[in-house]
Symmetry: C2
Subunit: 117 residues, 2 copies
DNA sequence: TAAACATATGAATATATATTCATATGTTTC
DNA sequence: GAAACATATGAATATATATTCATATGTTTA
């Protein structure tokens, strides 16, 4: 009659109850996972690193990342949708830059972890 | 004769050269993307949040995350391989806990970004 | 040592997503 | 307004990966 589907006799009920209460809503968890998904691809990570330095147009990025304009453009769309980059147009050229101070910090923390392994 | 495959006349050569010099090696970028990949799944994010509170056994985690023991175990393997969690055995029960201080910081920075949108 | 139990794992399936290719859109210049 | 150019995008393909199911492994207890 317990509401856990997990037939398990060593379950620490008090602990589980306490931890459950502190868990963020599923929506928050989902959004967090979605955010980190953006950082979870080499191409996008390269784009982010490049933009950490300065504003760049699409063909600059393609040259730096050594990938096709199309692939870059698709990835920039994702970065745009998740509000990690902003852009401005100058004629037919589009300049992208980072749109959030947290990005640098997240990358830095990740880098610290990597460097300590 | 340029070494860029990107037929693009507005390329900012000086800028591109400068940024290229500051880019981390591909290996670092790859490792970073792999790290963030671990955070990029709702189930793993829930496990991480649960373990932020305290050490838990597999069936506790399954109960908190409301998923099967098998799914949790598969995800814990990934968290183990990437050195984000450690474990200790007590008889047939296995207790998992976070293995790195950066994890909390990375999640916190991500959360700050989410909360500001 | 056999049964009960906690956890781990291999294989299969389903789903997500990165890249490529072709082409569309929008801007500038002649 | 036509050609050249920078960027965007839809469709298709290929690859990665999360979950499920069945079962294996290892530990405790009767």
């Amino acid at each position: 009659m317990e509401d856990n589907l997990f037939e398990c006799t060593v379950l620490h009920e008090e602990t589980v109850k306490k931890v459950k209460e502190t868990m963020p809503e599923d929506g928050i968890i989902y959004d967090l996972a979605e955010l980190f998904k953006v950082f979870a691809d080499s191409t996008r990570m390269k784009i982010i690193y490049a933009l950490l330095k300065e504003e760049l147009c699409v063909c600059d990025i393609a040259s730096i990342v050594q990938t096709t304009q199309s692939a870059i453009s698709h990835q920039l769309r994702i970065l745009k949708q998740t509000k990690l980059v902003k852009y401005r147009k100058e004629g037919k050229v589009v300049y992208y830059s980072l749109d959030d101070d947290h990005i640098a910090e997240i990358v830095k923390k990740g880098r610290e972890h990597i460097d300590e392994l």
